[in-house]
Protein backbone atom coordinates (compact mmCIF):
# COMPACT_ATOMS: atom_id res chain seq x y z
CA UNK A 1 0.00 0.00 0.00
CA UNK A 2 2.56 2.55 1.09
CA UNK A 3 4.81 1.26 -1.62
CA UNK A 4 2.19 1.99 -4.25
CA UNK A 5 1.77 5.46 -2.80
CA UNK A 6 5.52 5.99 -2.89
CA UNK A 7 5.54 4.88 -6.49
CA UNK A 8 2.83 7.31 -7.36
CA UNK A 9 4.67 10.08 -5.57
CA UNK A 10 7.98 9.37 -7.30
CA UNK A 11 7.44 11.51 -10.41
CA UNK A 12 6.33 14.41 -8.26
CA UNK A 13 9.44 14.11 -6.16
CA UNK A 14 11.54 14.23 -9.29
CA UNK A 15 9.63 17.23 -10.57
CA UNK A 16 9.38 19.11 -7.30
CA UNK A 17 12.68 21.06 -7.24
CA UNK A 18 12.29 22.23 -10.83
CA UNK A 19 8.65 23.09 -10.27
CA UNK A 20 9.37 25.09 -7.14
CA UNK A 21 12.19 27.05 -8.73
CA UNK A 22 10.33 27.77 -11.92
CA UNK A 23 7.21 28.77 -10.06
CA UNK A 24 9.14 31.07 -7.78
CA UNK A 25 11.51 32.65 -10.27
CA UNK A 26 9.62 32.52 -13.56
CA UNK A 27 5.89 32.13 -13.18
CA UNK A 28 5.42 34.25 -10.10
CA UNK A 29 7.50 37.08 -11.58
CA UNK A 30 5.43 36.93 -14.75
CA UNK A 31 2.22 37.24 -12.72
CA UNK A 32 3.80 40.00 -10.71
CA UNK A 33 4.67 41.78 -13.92
CA UNK A 34 1.13 41.57 -15.24
CA UNK A 35 -0.11 42.94 -11.96
CA UNK A 36 2.50 45.70 -12.05
CA UNK A 37 1.61 46.69 -15.59
CA UNK A 38 -1.66 48.16 -14.31
CA UNK A 39 0.16 50.50 -11.98
CA UNK A 40 2.01 53.78 -12.06
CA UNK A 41 5.10 52.36 -10.47
CA UNK A 42 8.59 53.80 -10.02
CA UNK A 43 11.68 51.99 -8.81
CA UNK A 44 11.76 53.59 -5.39
CA UNK A 45 8.27 52.32 -4.53
CA UNK A 46 7.18 48.84 -3.60
CA UNK A 47 4.40 47.57 -5.79
CA UNK A 48 1.86 48.07 -3.00
CA UNK A 49 2.60 51.79 -2.84
CA UNK A 50 2.13 52.25 -6.57
CA UNK A 51 -1.13 53.71 -7.75
CA UNK A 52 -3.52 51.52 -9.73
CA UNK A 53 -4.14 53.09 -13.15
CA UNK A 54 -6.02 50.36 -14.98
CA UNK A 55 -5.15 49.95 -18.64
CA UNK A 56 -3.50 53.37 -18.80
CA UNK A 57 0.00 52.06 -19.45
CA UNK A 58 -1.20 49.89 -22.29
CA UNK A 59 -3.14 52.74 -23.88
CA UNK A 60 -0.24 55.16 -23.56
CA UNK A 61 2.02 52.67 -25.30
CA UNK A 62 -0.54 51.88 -27.97
CA UNK A 63 -0.51 55.56 -28.95
CA UNK A 64 3.18 56.19 -28.39
CA UNK A 65 5.03 56.75 -31.70
CA UNK A 66 8.33 55.86 -30.03
CA UNK A 67 6.94 52.49 -29.06
CA UNK A 68 5.71 51.94 -32.60
CA UNK A 69 9.12 52.78 -33.96
CA UNK A 70 10.80 50.49 -31.50
CA UNK A 71 8.43 47.69 -32.40
CA UNK A 72 9.14 48.30 -36.09
CA UNK A 73 12.87 48.17 -35.47
CA UNK A 74 12.48 44.92 -33.55
CA UNK A 75 10.45 43.27 -36.28
CA UNK A 76 12.76 44.45 -39.03
CA UNK A 77 15.78 43.31 -37.07
CA UNK A 78 14.29 39.87 -36.40
CA UNK A 79 13.10 39.47 -39.97
CA UNK A 80 16.37 40.37 -41.67
CA UNK A 81 18.54 38.58 -39.16
CA UNK A 82 16.63 35.31 -39.38
CA UNK A 83 16.19 35.61 -43.15
CA UNK A 84 19.85 36.17 -43.94
CA UNK A 85 21.06 33.67 -41.41
CA UNK A 86 18.79 30.96 -42.77
CA UNK A 87 19.83 31.72 -46.30
CA UNK A 88 23.56 31.83 -45.64
CA UNK A 89 23.55 29.06 -43.05
CA UNK A 90 21.61 26.55 -45.12
CA UNK A 91 23.48 27.54 -48.27
CA UNK A 92 26.84 26.94 -46.63
CA UNK A 93 25.65 23.65 -45.21
CA UNK A 94 24.61 22.43 -48.65
CA UNK A 95 27.91 23.60 -50.06
CA UNK A 96 30.13 22.15 -47.35
CA UNK A 97 28.31 18.85 -46.96
CA UNK A 98 31.27 16.90 -48.29
CA UNK A 99 33.60 14.42 -46.87
CA UNK A 100 36.65 16.58 -46.38
CA UNK A 101 39.64 16.47 -44.11
CA UNK A 102 39.41 18.63 -41.01
CA UNK A 103 35.67 19.18 -41.04
CA UNK A 104 35.49 18.85 -37.26
CA UNK A 105 38.18 21.52 -36.80
CA UNK A 106 36.20 23.72 -39.12
CA UNK A 107 33.03 23.26 -37.16
CA UNK A 108 34.87 24.04 -33.95
CA UNK A 109 36.09 27.33 -35.36
CA UNK A 110 32.65 28.18 -36.65
CA UNK A 111 30.91 27.81 -33.31
CA UNK A 112 33.40 30.10 -31.60
CA UNK A 113 31.40 33.31 -32.25
CA UNK A 114 28.30 31.85 -30.58
CA UNK A 115 30.07 30.94 -27.40
CA UNK A 116 31.58 34.35 -26.75
CA UNK A 117 29.71 36.75 -24.49
CA UNK A 118 27.35 39.12 -26.33
CA UNK A 119 28.95 41.96 -24.42
CA UNK A 120 32.33 41.04 -25.88
CA UNK A 121 30.87 40.59 -29.36
CA UNK A 122 29.37 44.05 -29.04
CA UNK A 123 32.63 45.65 -28.08
CA UNK A 124 34.57 43.90 -30.83
CA UNK A 125 32.17 45.14 -33.45
CA UNK A 126 31.93 48.57 -31.93
CA UNK A 127 35.65 48.80 -32.34
CA UNK A 128 35.62 47.49 -35.89
CA UNK A 129 32.81 49.90 -36.85
CA UNK A 130 34.51 52.88 -35.25
CA UNK A 131 34.35 55.79 -37.73
CA UNK A 132 38.06 56.61 -37.65
CA UNK A 133 40.08 53.97 -35.84
CA UNK A 134 37.84 51.02 -36.76
CA UNK A 135 39.04 48.16 -38.90
CA UNK A 136 36.45 48.51 -41.66
CA UNK A 137 36.92 52.19 -42.30
CA UNK A 138 40.70 51.84 -42.21
CA UNK A 139 40.42 49.08 -44.74
CA UNK A 140 38.16 51.16 -46.98
CA UNK A 141 40.52 54.07 -46.56
CA UNK A 142 43.51 51.97 -47.60
CA UNK A 143 41.62 50.94 -50.71
CA UNK A 144 40.90 54.58 -51.42
CA UNK A 145 37.17 54.11 -50.98
CA UNK A 146 34.99 56.56 -49.05
CA UNK A 147 34.43 55.73 -45.42
CA UNK A 148 31.10 54.39 -44.28
CA UNK A 149 29.32 55.78 -41.25
CA UNK A 150 28.55 52.32 -39.87
CA UNK A 151 26.95 53.02 -36.53
CA UNK A 152 25.56 56.39 -37.62
CA UNK A 153 23.62 56.36 -40.88
CA UNK A 154 23.60 52.58 -41.24
CA UNK A 155 23.25 51.54 -37.64
CA UNK A 156 20.49 48.98 -38.10
CA UNK A 157 22.30 47.33 -41.00
CA UNK A 158 25.49 47.24 -38.98
CA UNK A 159 23.95 45.51 -35.99
CA UNK A 160 22.26 43.05 -38.31
CA UNK A 161 25.64 42.19 -39.81
CA UNK A 162 27.10 41.66 -36.36
CA UNK A 163 24.26 39.34 -35.43
CA UNK A 164 24.61 37.43 -38.68
CA UNK A 165 28.28 36.98 -37.90
CA UNK A 166 27.49 35.59 -34.49
CA UNK A 167 24.56 33.32 -35.27
CA UNK A 168 24.82 32.05 -38.85
CA UNK A 169 27.07 29.21 -37.62
CA UNK A 170 24.20 28.03 -35.43
CA UNK A 171 22.01 27.47 -38.44
CA UNK A 172 24.93 26.11 -40.43
CA UNK A 173 25.73 23.46 -37.83
CA UNK A 174 22.12 22.39 -37.43
CA UNK A 175 21.48 22.20 -41.16
CA UNK A 176 24.68 20.26 -41.65
CA UNK A 177 23.63 17.78 -38.97
CA UNK A 178 20.24 17.46 -40.61
CA UNK A 179 21.82 16.92 -44.02
CA UNK A 180 24.14 14.24 -42.77
CA UNK A 181 21.34 12.34 -41.10
CA UNK A 182 19.21 12.22 -44.25
CA UNK A 183 18.44 8.68 -45.36
CA UNK A 184 21.29 7.81 -47.74
CA UNK A 185 18.92 5.60 -49.70
CA UNK A 186 16.76 8.55 -50.73
CA UNK A 187 19.79 10.43 -52.06
CA UNK A 188 21.13 7.39 -53.88
CA UNK A 189 17.74 6.87 -55.43
CA UNK A 190 17.66 10.45 -56.67
CA UNK A 191 21.16 10.17 -58.04
CA UNK A 192 20.37 6.94 -59.87
CA UNK A 193 17.31 8.61 -61.33
CA UNK A 194 19.70 11.16 -62.84
CA UNK A 195 18.73 14.20 -60.79
CA UNK A 196 21.15 17.13 -61.11
CA UNK A 197 22.71 18.61 -57.98
CA UNK A 198 20.13 21.39 -58.02
CA UNK A 199 17.26 18.99 -58.42
CA UNK A 200 18.57 16.89 -55.58
CA UNK A 201 18.67 19.94 -53.34
CA UNK A 202 15.26 21.28 -54.23
CA UNK A 203 13.28 18.08 -54.47
CA UNK A 204 14.99 15.80 -52.01
CA UNK A 205 17.30 17.49 -49.54
CA UNK A 206 15.32 20.61 -48.65
CA UNK A 207 11.96 18.89 -48.18
CA UNK A 208 13.53 16.21 -46.01
CA UNK A 209 15.37 18.83 -43.94
CA UNK A 210 12.29 20.96 -43.56
CA UNK A 211 11.21 19.91 -40.07
CA UNK A 212 14.63 20.68 -38.66
CA UNK A 213 14.87 23.91 -40.60
CA UNK A 214 11.56 25.11 -39.25
CA UNK A 215 12.47 24.37 -35.67
CA UNK A 216 15.82 26.06 -36.20
CA UNK A 217 14.10 29.05 -37.67
CA UNK A 218 11.71 29.20 -34.74
CA UNK A 219 14.57 29.03 -32.26
CA UNK A 220 16.47 31.81 -34.00
CA UNK A 221 13.37 33.94 -34.24
CA UNK A 222 12.70 33.67 -30.53
CA UNK A 223 16.35 34.38 -29.84
CA UNK A 224 16.34 37.38 -32.15
CA UNK A 225 13.84 38.98 -29.79
CA UNK A 226 16.15 38.31 -26.89
CA UNK A 227 19.16 40.11 -28.34
CA UNK A 228 20.05 43.05 -26.20
CA UNK A 229 23.60 43.21 -24.95
CA UNK A 230 25.23 43.36 -28.37
CA UNK A 231 23.12 46.34 -29.36
CA UNK A 232 23.43 47.98 -25.98
CA UNK A 233 27.19 47.94 -26.20
CA UNK A 234 27.34 48.93 -29.87
CA UNK A 235 24.82 51.75 -30.16
CA UNK A 236 22.76 52.02 -26.98
CA UNK A 237 19.76 52.11 -29.28
CA UNK A 238 20.85 55.16 -31.25
CA UNK A 239 21.13 57.18 -33.36
CA UNK A 240 17.61 58.33 -32.77
CA UNK A 241 15.63 55.21 -32.09
CA UNK A 242 17.06 53.48 -35.13
CA UNK A 243 18.41 50.47 -33.26
CA UNK A 244 16.30 50.57 -30.14
CA UNK A 245 14.77 47.11 -30.13
CA UNK A 246 11.98 46.40 -27.66
CA UNK A 247 14.15 44.56 -25.16
CA UNK A 248 16.40 47.59 -24.98
CA UNK A 249 13.48 49.96 -24.70
CA UNK A 250 12.05 47.94 -21.83
CA UNK A 251 15.30 48.15 -19.98
CA UNK A 252 15.64 51.89 -20.66
CA UNK A 253 12.07 52.57 -19.60
CA UNK A 254 12.64 50.72 -16.37
CA UNK A 255 16.02 52.15 -15.47
CA UNK A 256 16.42 55.48 -17.24
CA UNK A 257 12.84 56.77 -17.35
CA UNK A 258 12.01 55.01 -14.07
CA UNK A 259 8.58 53.84 -15.20
CA UNK A 260 8.30 50.25 -14.14
CA UNK A 261 4.58 50.07 -14.91
CA UNK A 262 5.06 51.11 -18.52
CA UNK A 263 8.04 48.78 -18.86
CA UNK A 264 5.91 45.93 -17.54
CA UNK A 265 3.14 46.71 -20.02
CA UNK A 266 5.71 46.77 -22.81
CA UNK A 267 7.07 43.43 -21.65
CA UNK A 268 3.56 42.03 -21.89
CA UNK A 269 3.14 43.27 -25.43
CA UNK A 270 6.43 41.61 -26.32
CA UNK A 271 5.35 38.38 -24.66
CA UNK A 272 2.07 38.36 -26.55
CA UNK A 273 3.94 38.85 -29.79
CA UNK A 274 6.32 36.00 -29.04
CA UNK A 275 3.45 33.82 -27.93
CA UNK A 276 1.73 34.36 -31.26
CA UNK A 277 4.93 33.43 -33.10
CA UNK A 278 5.47 30.35 -31.00
CA UNK A 279 1.95 29.07 -31.45
CA UNK A 280 2.02 29.71 -35.18
CA UNK A 281 5.32 27.95 -35.55
CA UNK A 282 4.15 24.99 -33.52
CA UNK A 283 1.18 24.61 -35.78
CA UNK A 284 3.38 24.74 -38.85
CA UNK A 285 5.83 22.28 -37.34
CA UNK A 286 3.25 19.63 -36.64
CA UNK A 287 1.81 20.01 -40.14
CA UNK A 288 5.26 19.77 -41.68
CA UNK A 289 6.19 16.79 -39.61
CA UNK A 290 3.22 14.89 -40.95
CA UNK A 291 4.12 15.85 -44.50
CA UNK A 292 7.75 14.92 -44.08
CA UNK A 293 6.74 11.56 -42.67
CA UNK A 294 4.64 11.00 -45.78
CA UNK A 295 7.51 11.95 -48.09
CA UNK A 296 9.92 9.75 -46.19
CA UNK A 297 7.50 6.86 -46.38
CA UNK A 298 6.97 7.46 -50.09
CA UNK A 299 10.71 7.58 -50.78
CA UNK A 300 11.32 4.42 -48.84
CA UNK A 301 8.55 2.64 -50.71
CA UNK A 302 10.24 3.59 -54.00
CA UNK A 303 13.28 1.49 -53.22
Amino acid sequence: MSRALANRLTPYMFMAPAAVIMAMALLYPLMYMIWGSFRDWNPSQTIGEAEFVGLNNYITLWNDPNFHESLGVTLRFAFFVVGFEMLIGVGLALLLDRNIRGMSVLRTLFILPMMIAPVVVGLMWRYMYHPTVGTFNRFLDDLGLPKVDWLGQHALGSIIIADIWQWTPFIFILSLAALQSLPRSALEAARIDGATAWQQIIYVKLPLMMPVLIVTCLLRLIDAFKVLEVILVMTEGGPGLSTEILALRISRTATEFRELGVAAAMSNYLLLLLLAFTVAMFAVTSLQEKRAARIRAAVEEDE
Binding site: M22, L123, Y127, I250
Partner: protein, 311 residues
Protein backbone atom coordinates in the same frame (compact mmCIF):
# COMPACT_ATOMS: atom_id res chain seq x y z
CA UNK B 1 35.96 6.68 -39.99
CA UNK B 2 36.87 6.01 -43.56
CA UNK B 3 40.09 7.55 -44.68
CA UNK B 4 38.70 8.36 -48.07
CA UNK B 5 38.44 12.12 -48.60
CA UNK B 6 37.08 13.58 -51.75
CA UNK B 7 39.36 15.88 -53.71
CA UNK B 8 37.88 19.33 -54.01
CA UNK B 9 38.23 22.18 -56.35
CA UNK B 10 40.70 24.89 -55.14
CA UNK B 11 37.97 27.55 -55.10
CA UNK B 12 36.33 25.47 -52.44
CA UNK B 13 39.36 25.72 -50.15
CA UNK B 14 39.54 29.45 -50.75
CA UNK B 15 35.94 29.72 -49.63
CA UNK B 16 36.69 27.75 -46.50
CA UNK B 17 39.70 29.91 -45.75
CA UNK B 18 37.57 33.03 -46.08
CA UNK B 19 34.90 31.60 -43.78
CA UNK B 20 37.46 30.67 -41.15
CA UNK B 21 39.02 34.10 -41.39
CA UNK B 22 35.64 35.75 -40.98
CA UNK B 23 34.65 33.72 -37.97
CA UNK B 24 37.84 34.01 -35.98
CA UNK B 25 39.17 37.29 -37.39
CA UNK B 26 37.37 39.56 -34.94
CA UNK B 27 38.50 37.44 -32.02
CA UNK B 28 42.08 37.55 -33.20
CA UNK B 29 41.77 41.30 -33.66
CA UNK B 30 40.65 41.67 -30.09
CA UNK B 31 43.44 39.41 -28.92
CA UNK B 32 46.06 41.47 -30.72
CA UNK B 33 44.65 44.79 -29.65
CA UNK B 34 44.61 43.72 -26.03
CA UNK B 35 48.39 43.79 -26.19
CA UNK B 36 48.59 47.28 -27.66
CA UNK B 37 48.75 50.64 -25.95
CA UNK B 38 45.79 52.93 -26.56
CA UNK B 39 47.91 55.26 -28.65
CA UNK B 40 48.84 52.38 -30.94
CA UNK B 41 45.23 51.28 -31.28
CA UNK B 42 43.99 54.75 -32.11
CA UNK B 43 46.82 55.94 -34.31
CA UNK B 44 46.35 53.02 -36.66
CA UNK B 45 49.84 51.66 -36.99
CA UNK B 46 47.83 48.68 -38.03
CA UNK B 47 48.94 45.14 -38.47
CA UNK B 48 51.45 43.37 -36.37
CA UNK B 49 54.10 46.04 -36.17
CA UNK B 50 53.84 47.16 -32.59
CA UNK B 51 55.52 46.57 -29.27
CA UNK B 52 53.37 44.10 -27.34
CA UNK B 53 52.66 45.12 -23.80
CA UNK B 54 50.88 43.45 -20.93
CA UNK B 55 49.97 46.81 -19.40
CA UNK B 56 46.31 46.38 -20.26
CA UNK B 57 46.16 43.07 -18.46
CA UNK B 58 48.05 44.46 -15.51
CA UNK B 59 45.58 47.29 -15.29
CA UNK B 60 42.59 44.96 -15.52
CA UNK B 61 43.90 42.55 -12.96
CA UNK B 62 45.40 45.11 -10.60
CA UNK B 63 43.40 43.91 -7.61
CA UNK B 64 44.76 40.38 -7.74
CA UNK B 65 48.33 41.00 -8.82
CA UNK B 66 50.98 40.38 -6.23
CA UNK B 67 52.95 43.41 -7.35
CA UNK B 68 51.95 46.96 -8.08
CA UNK B 69 52.49 47.86 -11.74
CA UNK B 70 54.08 51.24 -12.04
CA UNK B 71 51.72 52.62 -14.66
CA UNK B 72 48.61 51.98 -12.58
CA UNK B 73 47.62 55.04 -10.57
CA UNK B 74 44.98 53.43 -8.46
CA UNK B 75 43.12 50.23 -8.85
CA UNK B 76 39.64 51.02 -10.01
CA UNK B 77 38.73 48.03 -12.11
CA UNK B 78 38.70 45.20 -9.57
CA UNK B 79 38.50 42.66 -12.35
CA UNK B 80 39.76 39.84 -10.17
CA UNK B 81 36.84 40.17 -7.76
CA UNK B 82 34.34 40.24 -10.60
CA UNK B 83 35.97 37.20 -12.17
CA UNK B 84 35.56 35.28 -8.93
CA UNK B 85 31.91 36.37 -8.69
CA UNK B 86 31.33 35.23 -12.24
CA UNK B 87 32.93 31.87 -11.49
CA UNK B 88 30.90 31.31 -8.33
CA UNK B 89 27.66 32.27 -10.00
CA UNK B 90 28.24 30.37 -13.22
CA UNK B 91 29.53 27.17 -11.61
CA UNK B 92 26.90 26.90 -8.88
CA UNK B 93 24.03 27.76 -11.16
CA UNK B 94 25.24 25.26 -13.77
CA UNK B 95 25.50 22.52 -11.18
CA UNK B 96 22.06 23.20 -9.72
CA UNK B 97 20.41 23.51 -13.11
CA UNK B 98 21.83 20.16 -14.19
CA UNK B 99 20.80 18.24 -11.10
CA UNK B 100 17.32 19.72 -10.94
CA UNK B 101 16.88 19.72 -14.68
CA UNK B 102 17.72 16.10 -15.32
CA UNK B 103 15.50 14.93 -12.49
CA UNK B 104 12.61 16.81 -14.03
CA UNK B 105 13.43 15.59 -17.52
CA UNK B 106 13.54 12.02 -16.26
CA UNK B 107 10.13 12.38 -14.66
CA UNK B 108 8.67 13.86 -17.82
CA UNK B 109 10.04 11.07 -20.01
CA UNK B 110 9.59 8.01 -17.84
CA UNK B 111 6.45 8.56 -15.80
CA UNK B 112 2.84 9.12 -16.61
CA UNK B 113 1.37 11.35 -13.95
CA UNK B 114 -1.24 13.99 -13.47
CA UNK B 115 -0.07 17.37 -14.63
CA UNK B 116 2.65 15.91 -16.87
CA UNK B 117 1.33 17.57 -19.99
CA UNK B 118 0.87 20.89 -18.26
CA UNK B 119 4.41 20.72 -16.90
CA UNK B 120 5.78 19.80 -20.29
CA UNK B 121 3.92 22.58 -22.05
CA UNK B 122 4.87 25.18 -19.45
CA UNK B 123 8.50 24.21 -19.85
CA UNK B 124 8.26 24.74 -23.57
CA UNK B 125 6.47 28.04 -23.26
CA UNK B 126 8.76 29.70 -20.77
CA UNK B 127 11.71 29.01 -23.05
CA UNK B 128 10.59 31.90 -25.18
CA UNK B 129 10.57 34.47 -22.37
CA UNK B 130 13.31 37.02 -23.09
CA UNK B 131 15.46 38.07 -20.14
CA UNK B 132 14.41 41.67 -20.72
CA UNK B 133 10.85 40.73 -19.87
CA UNK B 134 11.99 39.38 -16.54
CA UNK B 135 13.86 42.57 -15.73
CA UNK B 136 11.02 44.52 -14.16
CA UNK B 137 9.43 41.80 -12.04
CA UNK B 138 12.72 40.30 -10.92
CA UNK B 139 14.00 43.73 -9.98
CA UNK B 140 10.87 44.40 -7.91
CA UNK B 141 10.61 40.98 -6.31
CA UNK B 142 14.25 40.47 -5.50
CA UNK B 143 14.52 43.90 -3.93
CA UNK B 144 11.24 44.16 -2.10
CA UNK B 145 9.42 40.87 -1.74
CA UNK B 146 11.99 38.10 -1.46
CA UNK B 147 13.35 39.50 1.75
CA UNK B 148 13.83 38.41 5.31
CA UNK B 149 13.20 40.89 8.05
CA UNK B 150 16.48 41.78 9.69
CA UNK B 151 14.73 41.60 13.08
CA UNK B 152 13.57 38.06 12.32
CA UNK B 153 15.35 34.88 13.29
CA UNK B 154 17.10 33.93 10.07
CA UNK B 155 17.46 37.49 8.79
CA UNK B 156 19.01 38.54 12.07
CA UNK B 157 21.38 35.63 11.96
CA UNK B 158 22.50 36.51 8.44
CA UNK B 159 23.07 40.15 9.34
CA UNK B 160 25.04 39.13 12.45
CA UNK B 161 27.26 36.75 10.51
CA UNK B 162 27.76 38.60 7.26
CA UNK B 163 27.21 42.22 8.26
CA UNK B 164 25.55 44.64 5.90
CA UNK B 165 22.54 46.78 6.48
CA UNK B 166 18.80 46.73 5.98
CA UNK B 167 16.54 43.76 5.45
CA UNK B 168 18.11 40.66 3.97
CA UNK B 169 16.99 40.58 0.35
CA UNK B 170 17.90 38.35 -2.56
CA UNK B 171 19.02 41.32 -4.60
CA UNK B 172 22.71 41.98 -4.28
CA UNK B 173 23.55 38.42 -3.26
CA UNK B 174 25.10 35.62 -5.26
CA UNK B 175 22.10 33.45 -4.42
CA UNK B 176 19.74 35.97 -5.98
CA UNK B 177 21.52 35.90 -9.31
CA UNK B 178 21.99 32.13 -9.15
CA UNK B 179 18.26 31.61 -8.56
CA UNK B 180 17.22 33.53 -11.64
CA UNK B 181 19.87 31.84 -13.79
CA UNK B 182 18.77 28.39 -12.68
CA UNK B 183 15.16 29.26 -13.41
CA UNK B 184 16.04 30.75 -16.80
CA UNK B 185 18.11 27.76 -17.88
CA UNK B 186 15.90 24.98 -16.57
CA UNK B 187 13.44 24.88 -19.48
CA UNK B 188 16.26 24.53 -21.98
CA UNK B 189 18.10 21.90 -19.99
CA UNK B 190 14.94 19.88 -19.43
CA UNK B 191 14.22 20.08 -23.13
CA UNK B 192 17.66 18.90 -24.21
CA UNK B 193 17.96 16.14 -21.63
CA UNK B 194 14.59 14.66 -22.47
CA UNK B 195 15.88 13.65 -25.87
CA UNK B 196 18.88 11.91 -24.31
CA UNK B 197 16.85 10.12 -21.65
CA UNK B 198 14.44 8.78 -24.24
CA UNK B 199 17.34 6.91 -25.80
CA UNK B 200 18.25 5.08 -22.58
CA UNK B 201 16.92 1.56 -23.07
CA UNK B 202 14.12 0.82 -20.66
CA UNK B 203 15.37 -2.73 -20.24
CA UNK B 204 18.42 -1.53 -18.31
CA UNK B 205 16.24 0.31 -15.86
CA UNK B 206 13.91 -2.67 -15.54
CA UNK B 207 16.87 -4.90 -14.81
CA UNK B 208 18.09 -2.58 -12.08
CA UNK B 209 14.63 -2.40 -10.61
CA UNK B 210 14.36 -6.18 -10.55
CA UNK B 211 17.62 -6.21 -8.63
CA UNK B 212 15.79 -4.18 -5.99
CA UNK B 213 16.91 -0.61 -6.76
CA UNK B 214 14.54 2.22 -5.85
CA UNK B 215 13.58 4.88 -8.41
CA UNK B 216 16.25 7.30 -7.18
CA UNK B 217 18.92 4.64 -7.27
CA UNK B 218 17.89 3.70 -10.79
CA UNK B 219 18.11 7.32 -11.78
CA UNK B 220 21.50 8.06 -10.27
CA UNK B 221 23.21 4.73 -10.89
CA UNK B 222 21.78 3.73 -14.26
CA UNK B 223 20.36 6.69 -16.12
CA UNK B 224 22.81 9.43 -15.22
CA UNK B 225 25.95 7.64 -16.40
CA UNK B 226 24.30 6.85 -19.70
CA UNK B 227 23.36 10.40 -20.52
CA UNK B 228 26.79 11.89 -19.80
CA UNK B 229 27.17 13.40 -23.30
CA UNK B 230 23.83 15.12 -22.89
CA UNK B 231 24.82 16.39 -19.47
CA UNK B 232 28.05 17.77 -20.86
CA UNK B 233 26.21 19.60 -23.62
CA UNK B 234 23.62 20.97 -21.22
CA UNK B 235 26.34 22.03 -18.80
CA UNK B 236 28.19 23.99 -21.44
CA UNK B 237 25.09 25.81 -22.58
CA UNK B 238 24.02 26.66 -19.07
CA UNK B 239 27.48 27.80 -18.16
CA UNK B 240 27.65 29.91 -21.27
CA UNK B 241 24.48 31.80 -20.41
CA UNK B 242 25.31 32.24 -16.75
CA UNK B 243 28.82 33.34 -17.60
CA UNK B 244 27.85 35.79 -20.31
CA UNK B 245 24.58 37.28 -19.09
CA UNK B 246 24.56 41.01 -18.43
CA UNK B 247 21.09 42.51 -18.06
CA UNK B 248 19.65 40.68 -15.07
CA UNK B 249 22.97 40.53 -13.29
CA UNK B 250 23.33 44.27 -13.61
CA UNK B 251 19.89 44.80 -12.11
CA UNK B 252 20.49 42.41 -9.24
CA UNK B 253 24.13 42.73 -8.28
CA UNK B 254 25.65 45.26 -5.96
CA UNK B 255 29.23 46.40 -5.60
CA UNK B 256 30.32 43.09 -4.09
CA UNK B 257 28.59 40.74 -6.48
CA UNK B 258 29.34 42.36 -9.83
CA UNK B 259 30.10 39.93 -12.61
CA UNK B 260 32.56 40.43 -15.46
CA UNK B 261 30.07 41.47 -18.20
CA UNK B 262 28.82 44.26 -15.94
CA UNK B 263 32.34 45.39 -15.35
CA UNK B 264 33.04 45.49 -19.08
CA UNK B 265 29.93 47.51 -19.89
CA UNK B 266 30.67 49.86 -17.00
CA UNK B 267 34.18 50.28 -18.19
CA UNK B 268 33.01 51.50 -21.58
CA UNK B 269 32.38 54.69 -19.65
CA UNK B 270 31.86 57.61 -21.92
CA UNK B 271 34.58 59.81 -20.52
CA UNK B 272 37.45 57.71 -21.43
CA UNK B 273 37.16 54.81 -23.82
CA UNK B 274 40.27 52.81 -22.99
CA UNK B 275 40.22 50.36 -25.86
CA UNK B 276 43.26 48.44 -24.72
CA UNK B 277 41.92 47.66 -21.27
CA UNK B 278 38.45 46.92 -22.60
CA UNK B 279 39.84 44.45 -25.10
CA UNK B 280 41.93 42.84 -22.36
CA UNK B 281 38.90 42.39 -20.11
CA UNK B 282 36.88 41.13 -23.06
CA UNK B 283 39.60 38.63 -23.83
CA UNK B 284 39.68 37.42 -20.23
CA UNK B 285 35.91 36.99 -20.26
CA UNK B 286 36.06 35.09 -23.53
CA UNK B 287 38.75 32.65 -22.45
CA UNK B 288 36.57 30.07 -20.64
CA UNK B 289 34.06 29.83 -23.52
CA UNK B 290 36.90 29.58 -26.01
CA UNK B 291 38.45 26.75 -24.02
CA UNK B 292 35.13 24.93 -23.93
CA UNK B 293 34.71 25.35 -27.63
CA UNK B 294 38.13 23.99 -28.41
CA UNK B 295 37.88 20.98 -26.13
CA UNK B 296 34.21 20.11 -26.20
CA UNK B 297 32.97 21.18 -29.60
CA UNK B 298 31.56 17.71 -30.18
CA UNK B 299 29.35 17.98 -27.09
CA UNK B 300 28.27 21.47 -28.02
CA UNK B 301 27.21 20.35 -31.46
CA UNK B 302 25.41 17.30 -30.06
CA UNK B 303 23.60 19.54 -27.61
CA UNK B 304 22.62 22.05 -30.26
CA UNK B 305 21.30 19.36 -32.55
CA UNK B 306 19.42 17.61 -29.77
CA UNK B 307 17.88 20.89 -28.68
CA UNK B 308 16.65 21.67 -32.16
CA UNK B 309 15.63 18.28 -33.46
CA UNK B 310 13.27 17.59 -30.65
CA UNK B 311 10.43 19.93 -31.49
Amino acid sequence: MSAKYEKQNPAFYVLIAILVFMSIGPVMLMFINSFKLDVDIISGTSGLLFLPTIQNYEKALCDVLWYEPEHVDFCSLKFGGAFINSLIIALISTFLTLVIGCMAAYALVRFRFMGRDTASLTTLMVRMVPPAVLLVPVFGLWNNEFCLDKEGLIGGLIRDTFGGRGDVCLAGTHSGIILIYVAMNLPFVIWILQSFIVQVPRSLEEAARVDGAGPFQVFFKVVLPLIKPGLAAAAIFTFRIAWNEYLLASALSDRNTKTVPILIVNNMSEFNVEWGVIMATGMLLAIPPIIFTLFASRQIITGMTAGAVKG
